[in-house]
C-alpha cells in the first residue's frame, strides 16, 4: 500500500464520496434529503481539509511523480469546491420543484455526482505534471458537463444545447490533442519539466503550431473569441444550476489549464505569446460586451457577460507568474460568488416566471431584498467599488499592467463602461419599471433567503476587508 500523504486527502475524498452519493440513490425514496445532506458534508469537509494544507511557499509537494499540490493548486481547489457547493445548493431548488412540479430529490444524487467528477477533473488539471494527466483532467472535467447539459432531455432547447455542446467540446478536445502531440513531437517528452527545458532551449514552427492549437482548443472551453458561439445557446438550453456550474467550474478549469501551461511548460516563451494573449483577451471582452447589449433573456445575457469576463481574466495572463496567479484565483473567487448570486436570483424568478428581463419588472417594489441582491451582483460583475468585483478586476488589470500592457488595460477598462451599460439595463428592469400585474408573485423559501443574504454579504465584503484577502489569497506572496 502507498503511504498516503496528508495533502492528498481532499483529492482522495473527492474521488470516493460521489460514488457513495450515487450508490445511495438505490436505497432512498424520491423525497429523501439524504444524498443532498451527505454531499453537503462531503464538500464542506473537503473545503476544510484544503484550508488545513499549509502554504509551501513555492516548494512543490509531489505524489508518485505526476501529482503535484502547489499553492496555486490548493487555492484553485478551494475555488472549485466553493463553486461545486454553491452549484449543488442551487440545484436543490431545481429538483425540489421537479420537471412536472413533482419533487425528484433522488435524482439530485446523480447531479451531484456529475458536479463532483467535473470538480475532480479540475483538481487533476491543476495537479498534473505531465501532458497525459493534464489531458485526462480536462476530459474528466468536461464529460460530466455534457451529461449535465443534457439534463432536460425532453426539452427541445435542452437537447439542442446538449448536442451543440458535445459537438463543439469534442472538436475542442481534438484540437487540444493535436496540440499536445506536436508539443510531444517538439520536446520528445510528456513531462512538463522536460518540455519546459526543450522550449527554453530553442523555438521552432512546430512549437508555435502546438501553441496555436492549444489556444484554439481551450478557447472553446473558455469561450474565447472566435470559439464562443456555443455558449449562449448552451447557457440558455441547460437547466439554471447547470448553467451556473458551467459558467464557473468549467471556466475556472479552463483558465487553470491556461495558467498551468503558460506559467509551466510554456513559460520560456510567455513574452512571445503576449501578443496572442492580448489579442484574444481584447477581442473576447469586446465581443462579449457587444453581444450582451441586445439580450433580453436572462441566461443568454449571462452567457455574453461571462464571455466578457473570460476576456478580462485573460488580461491577467500577461503578468508575471505570482501576480497573475494571485489575481486569477482572487478574481475567480469573486466571480464565482457574484455569478452564483445572480443565478440564485434568476432561479427564484425562473420557478415562477419566464427568465426574461420582462419578468424582473417591479422587483424592487414587490421584493426589495431580492432586488438589492440582484443590484449587488450586477454592480459587482460590472466592477463597481466597493463590491468584490471591482477589486477582482483591479487585480487582473494590475497584473496585466505590471508588464507594461497599458493599451490593453486601457481598452479593457473602457470596455467596462459598455459592460456597466448592459448591467444597468437589468437593474433598470428590476428597479425602475413599474410592476406588471400579470406576473406571478415570487415566494422565497427560508433557505433561499438565507443563501441570497449570505452571498450578498460575501460580495460586499470579499473585496475590501483585508483579512480575507491577506490570509486566504496570500499564498504566493509569503
Amino acid at each position: 500500500m502507498f503511504n498516503i500523504p496528508n495533502f492528498i486527502l481532499p483529492d482522495v475524498l473527492l474521488l470516493i464520496f460521489p460514488f457513495i452519493v450515487i450508490g445511495m440513490r438505490l436505497f432512498v425514496t424520491t423525497r429523501s434529503q439524504l444524498p443532498w445532506r451527505l454531499a453537503n458534508i462531503g464538500f464542506i469537509a473537503i473545503f476544510i481539509l484544503l484550508n488545513l494544507i499549509p502554504f509551501s511557499g513555492g516548494a512543490e509537494r509531489i505524489f508518485i511523480s505526476n501529482w503535484k499540490v502547489d499553492d496555486f493548486g490548493v487555492l484553485m481547489r478551494e475555488v472549485l469546491i466553493v463553486s461545486a457547493l454553491l452549484g449543488m445548493w442551487l440545484s436543490k431548488d431545481y429538483f425540489e420543484h421537479g420537471a412536472d412540479k413533482k419533487p425528484q430529490m433522488h435524482q439530485i444524487a446523480e447531479f451531484i455526482g456529475a458536479i463532483a467528477f467535473a470538480t475532480f477533473g479540475g483538481f487533476t488539471v491543476v495537479s498534473a505534471c505531465d501532458l497525459l494527466t493534464f489531458f485526462l483532467g480536462l476530459e474528466i472535467a468536461t464529460i460530466p458537463m455534457y451529461a449535465l447539459a443534457a439534463w432536460n432531455k425532453r426539452d427541445q432547447y435542452g437537447s439542442e444545447a446538449a448536442t451543440k455542446y458535445i459537438l463543439m467540446g469534442s472538436v475542442a478536445t481534438a484540437f487540444e490533442l493535436f496540440g499536445f502531440s506536436y508539443l510531444y513531437g517538439f520536446s520528445g517528452s510528456l513531462h512538463f519539466s522536460e518540455i519546459q527545458a526543450a522550449v527554453a532551449s530553442g523555438s521552432s514552427p512546430l512549437l508555435w503550431i502546438a501553441v496555436l492549437f492549444l489556444f484554439c482548443g481551450i478557447g472553446f472551453k473558455l469561450t474565447l473569441f472566435p470559439f464562443y458561439t456555443w455558449a449562449p445557446d448552451v447557457y440558455e438550453g441547460a437547466p439554471t444550476p447547470v448553467t451556473a456550474v458551467l459558467s464557473v467550474t468549467s471556466k475556472a478549469t479552463a483558465i487553470a489549464f491556461l495558467v498551468v501551461l503558460v506559467y509551466g511548460p510554456l513559460s520560456p516563451i510567455q513574452d512571445k505569446m503576449a501578443p496572442l494573449i492580448a489579442l484574444l483577451a481584447g477581442v473576447t471582452l469586446f465581443v462579449g460586451n457587444l453581444g450582451a447589449l441586445k439580450q433580453s433573456r436572462l441566461r443568454r445575457f449571462m452567457a455574453y457577460s461571462s464571455i466578457a469576463q473570460a476576456g478580462y481574466i485573460m488580461v491577467a495572463l500577461l503578468g508575471p507568474a505570482t501576480t497573475a496567479k494571485t489575481a486569477i484565483i482572487y478574481y475567480l473567487f469573486v466571480y464565482a460568488v457574484s455569478n452564483y448570486l445572480a443565478f440564485f436570483v434568476f432561479s427564484i424568478i425562473g420557478h415562477h416566471r419566464e427568465e426574461t428581463f420582462q419578468s424582473l419588472r417591479g422587483l424592487s417594489k414587490q421584493n426589495p431584498s431580492l432586488a438589492i441582491a440582484l443590484a449587488i451582483s450586477m454592480f459587482s460583475l460590472a466592477g463597481i467599488p466597493p463590491l468584490a468585483g471591482f477589486f477582482g478586476k483591479f487585480h487582473l488589470f494590475f497584473s496585466g499592467a505590471s508588464t507594461g500592457h497599458y493599451t490593453l488595460v486601457a481598452f479593457a477598462v473602457l470596455n467596462n463602461v459598455i459592460a456597466l451599460f448592459y448591467y444597468l439595463q437589468l437593474i433598470k428592469a428590476a428597479w425602475v419599471d413599474e410592476p406588471d400585474g400579470h406576473l406571478t408573485p415570487l415566494r422565497l423559501t427560508k433557505r433561499q433567503r438565507e443563501v441570497v443574504i449570505l452571498l450578498s454579504i460575501a460580495v460586499i465584503f470579499l473585496g475590501f476587508v483585508p483579512f480575507l484577502s491577506n490570509n486566504i489569497f496570500a499564498g504566493f506572496t509569503n
Binding site: T326, Y330, S364, K365, P368, I372, A375, F379, I384, P385, P386, L387, F390, F391, F394, H395, F397, F398, A401, S402, G404, Y406, V409, A410, V413, L414, N416, V417, L420, F421, L424, I427, K428, W431, V432, F464, P466, S469, N470, F473, A474, T477
Partner: protein
C-alpha cells in the same frame, strides 16, 4: 482623538446605513430620525475639525506627509496584494471641502424627508453617496481614492432612476455612464502612474516624490485631467449634467452639483496637476481654449432654457468653468481662487437646487413660463432663490464675488494672451449670468399669480432652516474670507511649488 474623529467622518454614514438595514421599512419615522441625527453629528464633527485646522494653522504638521501639510494623518496597511494602504489626512483644502459636503448632505437629508417611494433605501443611498464623497476628499492613497470616487456611480443611478422625475432612466444612465467613462480614463492612467513611477505603494505623497518619465506624462496627463474633468462637466464632457440634474431628486441634484462635481476639479488639482506638473504646464493652456464654451457660451444657453433645473445646470457649467480657469492660470492666486470657487459654488448651487426642489414640490412644474407671482405666496423661498442668484452672479458680500475676483486676478497674472482673452470674456460673461438670473427670478417670482397656485404655502420650518443656514454660509465666506484663504494657502503652496520648480 481628533484623528479618530476625522476617520469617523466617512464611517458614521456607513454605520447609519447598517443600523437602518435592521429596521423594517414601515418604521419610516425612526429611519428618518436616525439619518437626520447622523448627518447632524457628522456636520458637528466636521465643523469642529475645520476649526481645529484653522486654530492650528502655522504649527508644524505631520512630517510623514511632507511636502503636503497634513493633519490627522493616518497610514494603515490595507490590501497588501496590490500594495494599497489606507491613508487619510486633512489639509486646508480638503477640510473645507469636507465641511461643504457635510453641510450639503445635512441640507439634502432635511429637504428630502417627505420623498415618495421606499425611504429606507433612499436614505441609505444618500448616506452611501456621502461616504463616497467624504472618502474622496480624505484619501491620499490612489486606490482608496479611486474606490471612493467610483462608488458614487452605484448610488447615483439608483437614486436618479428610482426617485427622480421626468426622463429619470435616461438622465440617470447618461450621468452614470459618462462619469464611468471618466473614471475609466482615470483608472487606466493610475496603473501607468504606479508602474512608471516605480513607487512601492499607491501613496500619493510617495509617487509625487518620484520623477515620472516625460513621454509618459505627456499622454497620461490629458487622459487623467479629462477623466476628472468629466465629472466637473468641462466641455466637451458637459452633456450629462443638464439631463442628469433635471432628472434627479432634489437632494441628489444638491449633492451632485454641490459636492460631486467638485470631486473632479479636486482630482485635477490634487492628483493630475500635483503628480504630473511638467505635463500640466504644457497642456493646461489648451484647456483654457475649452473654457470658452463653459464660461462664455454656458450662460447664453441658460438664457434660452425654460426648465429651472436646466438653467441651474448650465449656470453650474459656467461656474465650474471658472474653477478650471483658476487652475489653468497656474499662479498661486489662481489656484486659491479655484479652491475658493469650489467651496463657494458648492453652497450656492446647493441653495439653488434646494429652493428649486421646494418650489417644485408645491407647483409640480419647473417650467418658468407657467409660473408667476410666486413671491406673493412663498416669500421665504422666493427670497432664498433670489439670494442664490445674487451670489451666483458675484454680488459683493457673497462668497461668489470673492472667489470669482480672485480667479480673475490670478488668471490675468498668467503671461499668455489666450488666458488673458478668456479671462476678459469670462468677466464679461457675468453680464450674461445676470441676464438669465434676473429674467428667471422675474418670470417666476413676479407678475400675475396663476389661479392654480392660490392655495400654495410658504416653506415649513426645516425648509427655512436649510435656506437660512446655506445663506449664512455664503455670507460668512463672502464677508470674512481671510481665514479661509489662510488655511487654503498652506495646502496650495506645496502644489504650486512643485509646478513652479520646473525649469
Amino acid at each position: 482623538m481628533n484623528t479618530i474623529l476625522f476617520n469617523s467622518i466617512w464611517v458614521i454614514p456607513l454605520l447609519t446605513v447598517l443600523a437602518c438595514v435592521m429596521i423594517p421599512a414601515t418604521y419610516a419615522k425612526t429611519i428618518r430620525t436616525i439619518h437626520v441625527t447622523s448627518a447632524t453629528i457628522v456636520l458637528a464633527i466636521v465643523c469642529y475639525l475645520t476649526y481645529v485646522v484653522y486654530a492650528l494653522s502655522g504649527t508644524p504638521t505631520n512630517p510623514a506627509a511632507a511636502p503636503l501639510a497634513l493633519r490627522f494623518f493616518t497610514d494603515i496597511p490595507w490590501l497588501s496584494m496590490f500594495k494599497a494602504n489606507y491613508i487619510v489626512g486633512a489639509d486646508g483644502l480638503n477640510m473645507l471641502l469636507l465641511a461643504l459636503t457635510a453641510f450639503i448632505v445635512w441640507a439634502g437629508v432635511l429637504v428630502s424627508l417627505n420623498i415618495k417611494g421606499n425611504q429606507k433605501i433612499f436614505f441609505a443611498l444618500i448616506q452611501l453617496l456621502a461616504t463616497s464623497v467624504y472618502g474622496v476628499y480624505m484619501s491620499f492613497d490612489l486606490v482608496l481614492f479611486f474606490v471612493f470616487y467610483e462608488m458614487e456611480a452605484l448610488c447615483m443611478y439608483l437614486m436618479i432612476a428610482c426617485y427622480g422625475s421626468g426622463k429619470r432612466d435616461y438622465g440617470g444612465k447618461k450621468l452614470t455612464l459618462t462619469l464611468a467613462f471618466g473614471s475609466s480614463m482615470i483608472l487606466a492612467t493610475l496603473f501607468g502612474l504606479f508602474f512608471e513611477s516605480g513607487a512601492t505603494s499607491w501613496n500619493l505623497i510617495e509617487i509625487a516624490k518620484t520623477n515620472l518619465p516625460m513621454d509618459f506624462q505627456m499622454w497620461a496627463f490629458p487622459l487623467m485631467f479629462m477623466g476628472f474633468a468629466v465629472s466637473s462637466s468641462l466641455f466637451p464632457f458637459h452633456f450629462w449634467s443638464p439631463d442628469g440634474h433635471s432628472a434627479a431628486p432634489t437632494a441628489v441634484s444638491m449633492l451632485a452639483a454641490g459636492v460631486m462635481m467638485k470631486m473632479g476639479a479636486y482630482g485635477c488639482l490634487r492628483v493630475a496637476m500635483f503628480l504630473m506638473p511638467e505635463a500640466a504646464k504644457i497642456w493646461l493652456p489648451y484647456v483654457v481654449a475649452l473654457l470658452i464654451f463653459n464660461v462664455v457660451l454656458g450662460p447664453f444657453i441658460a438664457i434660452r432654457h425654460k426648465d429651472l433645473k436646466y438653467i441651474t445646470a448650465y449656470s453650474s457649467i459656467s461656474h465650474l468653468g471658472l474653477i478650471f480657469l483658476g487652475l489653468a492660470a497656474l499662479t498661486p492666486i489662481g489656484l486659491r481662487g479655484a479652491s475658493l470657487q469650489m467651496i463657494s459654488h458648492g453652497f450656492l448651487t446647493g441653495l439653488f437646487f434646494a429652493t428649486i426642489g421646494m418650489i417644485y414640490e408645491r407647483t409640480h412644474t419647473r417650467d418658468i413660463t407657467e409660473m408667476g407671482g410666486i413671491m406673493r405666496k412663498m416669500p421665504f423661498l422666493g427670497v432664498g432663490f433670489v439670494l442664490a442668484g445674487f451670489a451666483g452672479l458675484g454680488l459683493p458680500g457673497f462668497s461668489g464675488f470673492i472667489a470669482e475676483s480672485t480667479i480673475f486676478i490670478g488668471a490675468f497674472q498668467q503671461d499668455s494672451t489666450l488666458t488673458r482673452i478668456v479671462t476678459i470674456l469670462a468677466i464679461l460673461s457675468i453680464t450674461t449670468t445676470a441676464v438669465y438670473i434676473l429674467q428667471t427670478a422675474n418670470r417666476m417670482l413676479h407678475g400675475p399669480l396663476p389661479q392654480k397656485y392660490e392655495s400654495l404655502t410658504d416653506g415649513c420650518f426645516r425648509e427655512k432652516l436649510v435656506i437660512v443656514v446655506l445663506v449664512a454660509c455664503l455670507l460668512f465666506i463672502g464677508v470674512c474670507p481671510g481665514w479661509i484663504s489662510e488655511i487654503l494657502d498652506q495646502s496650495i503652496a506645496p502644489i504650486f511649488e512643485k509646478i513652479n520648480n520646473i525649469p
